[in-house]
Symmetry: C2
Subunit: 166 residues, 2 copies
């Protein structure tokens, strides 16, 4: 969900700017996370606040590509939400609002994603793909740009292309 | 979760009594659900209310048996909670309170359980066991007493016994 269909980066960057009075350079958080920048660790705490996940922008093209794939595949939205008790309602409402064609039967909030059984998993986190039994696709995010172990998709147009003949 | 580690029946029976002024006989809901009794369909709506899942009694022996099994197995609590948006926080808090040894990484809220990958699934619903890839154990509940297709466990002592040599 986050960094694949929901764009959390603007929120992190806004919070950094609010704290430090400037936008961080991309080089400062490439290969890691915004809250890994020295001194910015407490930005992580904001993830536990109600509302953080409620107004995230939708990732470009994710809606129209998922509507398309939804006709041919049984699509699940799986979010590692369990670390953030206050995110559940925000995430659920966000999905209902932006992806109304995804029925509640096909939503999952979990912790470790190794419990998930599916043919493909599109994820920005290598740790989630490492133990996945199907085929993992790494969705490009600032924190994974130096990763080489998984097939990479850079945007939803590439996902559309990947599944064209599947 | 419900009817396996969380005992929802007392809540249903209380609500029926509140509405009809009497406790229903077991024969009235055996093989089905309390809200399937004629005229009681709107009791189902209570599942959507905040608080319904917050004070459920813990199923007898489930804590001590799970603490024991937790030493030898990677235990996940998987709840088909997605139908009930207002249940998430109640269910999460209930689990933290009564099963604090189950880490958030091992909790799952989902819709269809066929997305779950595990060796065993203990569930009161046949529909969840039907599409499960591992071994399903049917936990006895009033609504499944006439079911014959799955190995049955009647209580947590029997679950303890079942996994003794596994």
């Amino acid at each position: 969900m986050d960094e694949v269909i929901a764009d959390v980066m603007p929120n992190f960057l806004n919070q950094y700017e609010f704290k430090f009075g400037r936008r961080p350079d991309k080089e400062e958080y490439e290969g890691s996370k915004v809250f890994d920048i020295e001194g910015a660790g407490d930005l992580w705490d904001n993830l536990h606040q109600k509302g953080f996940f409620s107004d995230l922008p939708v990732m470009t093209d994710s809606q129209k590509v998922l509507i398309e794939l939804h006709k041919r595949f049984d699509i699940y939205i799986v979010s590692a939400a369990m670390e953030f008790r206050n995110s559940f309602e925000d995430k659920y409402d966000w999905l209902q609002k932006h992806f109304p064609f995804i029925y509640w039967k096909n939503m999952v909030f979990c912790g470790k994603k190794e419990i998930i059984y599916a043919d493909w998993l599109i994820d920005d986190h290598v740790k989630n793909l490492e133990n996945f039994k199907g085929t993992g696709l790494l969705y490009t995010a600032s924190h994974n740009v130096f990763e080489r172990r998984f097939e990479r998709v850079n945007n939803w147009k590439e996902i559309h292309q990947y599944f064209k003949d599947k």
